[in-house]
């Protein structure tokens, strides 16, 4: 009988491995990378040679731009281990422009960007980090004298595909949090209808970024996305439904505060505001930092960083529900609700007492009865 265990990956062709080795990449590391990425994309093992070929064969030009960002996504990417950042950047991708990485600066750097855009028009992959401020005529963020609005529009329109890394470029993120002083927007709302994929997260998970690029190289198109433009392979499942603490949730075992006994036992973080039930991301399975850990594993609840407007809707981070608009920060929905119910009971109680003592509202037949 054939079982799943019998399905063996077809080998990666020897000539690909030899070419990779000639470039100085360790053969074993390359095989591990192709296998891990194929798995991250939820593709069957039979796709490993296809992925290997696409990765080895195409060296796509990449332009990585930053607008209103903290460079956290660049940092996350540079810490990627599969393969090490150096290999990925120098061998698998051709990074034409990346503010954090490049040696050039000032007008020289801008020149490099414009040249790359002209040379690889319609072929390059654009990676955008950070939101785009539209306020003050785009004046809140200018690069080399050009506003982020103009720069981003031009780059997106000339790209083969655009990958928004992090919550800021995907949804506006922290710069767009209320009251959004710079009128920051996502790339998707600045250039509607362009070929864009969103990889929100604060920061983006480098493995998901790598997998998205590999998907584009392998199939020539961006991966299938959900309603929010996020790839289904990475954002198709809710954190809560794959959480390692889920058993404690269903049983009814919760940490009441950080450092209490239940917290030390590793119980569910629901009551300290974990937003795992509200958030779609593959953190529980892919984890961060070489698969070492992720927030809930480390004992802190999810803050829902890969959901739109997370700074406004997922906060207070240590409460389950958002603050009720128009009420104070300490007024939870339940306090207000109990107040409402109590006020209703008191009001009708008083009405009832008053009604008992009111005169002249007896039924007509009462009077008839008395008269008769």
């Amino acid at each position: 009988m054939k079982t799943d265990l019998d399905i063996v990956s077809p080998p990666i062709p020897e000539e690909i491995l030899q070419r990779v080795e000639a470039k100085g990449i360790n053969r074993r590391d390359f095989i591990k990378f192709c296998t891990a990425t194929t798995a991250a994309l939820a593709l069957p093992v039979s796709f490993i040679p296809t992925v290997a070929q696409a990765v080895e064969d195409k060296r796509p030009p990449v332009i990585w731009v930053e607008y209103q960002s903290c460079s956290g996504d660049s940092e996350a990417f540079l810490r990627a281990n599969q393969p090490t950042a150096g290999e990925l950047i120098l061998d698998l991708l051709s990074i034409e422009y990346a503010e954090v990485l490049m040696a050039a600066a000032g007008h020289q750097a801008e020149e490099a960007k414009n040249q790359a855009m002209e040379k690889y028009k319609g072929q390059y992959i654009l990676i955008v980090e950070g939101s785009i401020p539209t306020g003050a005529g785009g004046g809140y963020c200018t690069i080399g004298g050009q506003s982020a609005v103009d720069d981003c529009k031009k780059l997106v329109q000339n790209a083969a595909a655009t990958i928004c890394v992090g919550s800021c470029s995907s949804f506006g993120g922290i710069p767009a949090a209320a009251p959004n002083p710079t009128s920051a927007v996502s790339v998707g709302s600045l250039v509607p209808g362009a070929a864009i994929v969103n990889l929100p997260g604060c920061p983006v998970n480098a493995d998901n970024l790598t997998a998205t690029i590999v998907h584009f190289l392998t199939f020539g198109k961006l991966p299938a996305v959900d309603r929010l433009g996020r790839p289904k392979f990475a954002y198709g499942k809710r954190i809560h439904d794959n959480c390692e603490r889920r058993g404690h949730f269903d049983a009814g075992q919760y940490a009441e505060s950080f450092g209490d006994d239940a917290h030390r036992q590793g119980h569910c973080l629901y009551k300290v505001g974990c937003k795992g039930p509200e958030t779609f991301h593959n953190c529980p399975t892919i984890r961060y930092n070489e698969g070492t850990s992720w927030p809930i594993m480390a004992g802190h609840g999810c803050i829902g960083c890969s959901e739109p407007e997370f700074w406004d809707t997922m906060s207070p981070f240590y409460r389950r529900l958002p603050k009720v608009p128009g009420f104070g920060i300490e007024d939870t929905a339940d306090k207000i609700g109990i107040g409402l119910a109590a006020a209703t009971a008191v009001a009708f109680g008083i009405h009832g007492v008053a009604s008992c003592f009111r005169k002249g509202d007896s039924m007509e037949e009462d009077k008839t009865g008395k008269e008769g």
Binding site: A251, L321, D334, A345
Partner: protein
């Protein structure tokens, strides 16, 4: 002397009592889901699991009941009809509405003395039906998150994007408290009218029959 009228047909009464049971169960389990007030001593229990199972089961029951009642609005008698929820559409209804409101606010001496919904109550029930539908829609939208691409996500998942799933949760939670407030009001008004009108307001929802003073003129 009184005349006896068959006012609340059996589908109305059944839906009413299913709604009562569902709302009580949904409020208790829903409150627990939002704020688990019991902690399990060991992992062998399944408290939240059962609370959610009950919540979802009663959600389906409640949905069927509300849907059945809405269908009955187009089949049943004049007291069950959708028209009875819009008393202010007729001149008589408007006059009775004002009379009833004046009675409640101690500025008038007489109730409207109909045998169906009183016009103020009917208007409130229209609002309550809106809240019921809101709870059903918002509830199934956030319920659908467990299975992206599934049935409920396909039908209502767009709301999570349009409104934001956390706002939907907050509103779903807030409307529960509105319904708690309504229940207090509803039971109180039922008691008051039972005492004052003596037309069988309370027993009517069990038996279906209400009484009215025979018009002798």
């Amino acid at each position: 002397m009184h005349e006896i009228h068959y006012v609340w047909q059996w589908p109305v009464r059944i839906c009413h009592w299913i709604n009562v049971i569902s709302i009580v169960m949904l409020s208790i389990t829903g409150f627990f889901i939002g704020r688990p007030f019991m902690t399990a001593p060991d992992t062998s229990l399944y408290i939240m699991g059962w609370a959610r199972m009950l919540h979802f089961s009663f959600a389906y029951l409640f949905t069927v009941s509300v849907a059945a009642r809405i269908i009955w609005m187009f089949i049943g008698n004049e007291h069950a009809s959708w028209r009875s929820f819009f008393p202010w559409l007729t001149r008589k209804g408007r006059a009775e509405f004002v009379e009833m409101l004046r009675y409640y606010t101690f500025t008038g001496k007489h109730t409207s003395r109909g045998i169906g919904h009183n016009p103020v109550a009917a208007t409130a029930y229209f609002g309550i039906f809106i809240l019921f539908i809101f709870q059903i829609v918002s509830g199934f939208a956030i319920y659908g998150q467990f299975a992206p691409g599934g049935l409920w996500d396909g039908i209502l998942g767009g709301l999570n994007v349009l409104v934001g799933n956390q706002w939907l949760r907050l509103m779903h939670h807030g409307v529960m408290w509105l319904l708690v407030g309504f229940t207090i009001n509803h039971v109180y008004s039922g008691w008051l009218m039972d005492v004052k009108e003596r037309t069988g307001t309370m027993s009517g929802i069990f038996s279906g029959y209400r009484f009215s003073a025979r018009k002798d003129h």
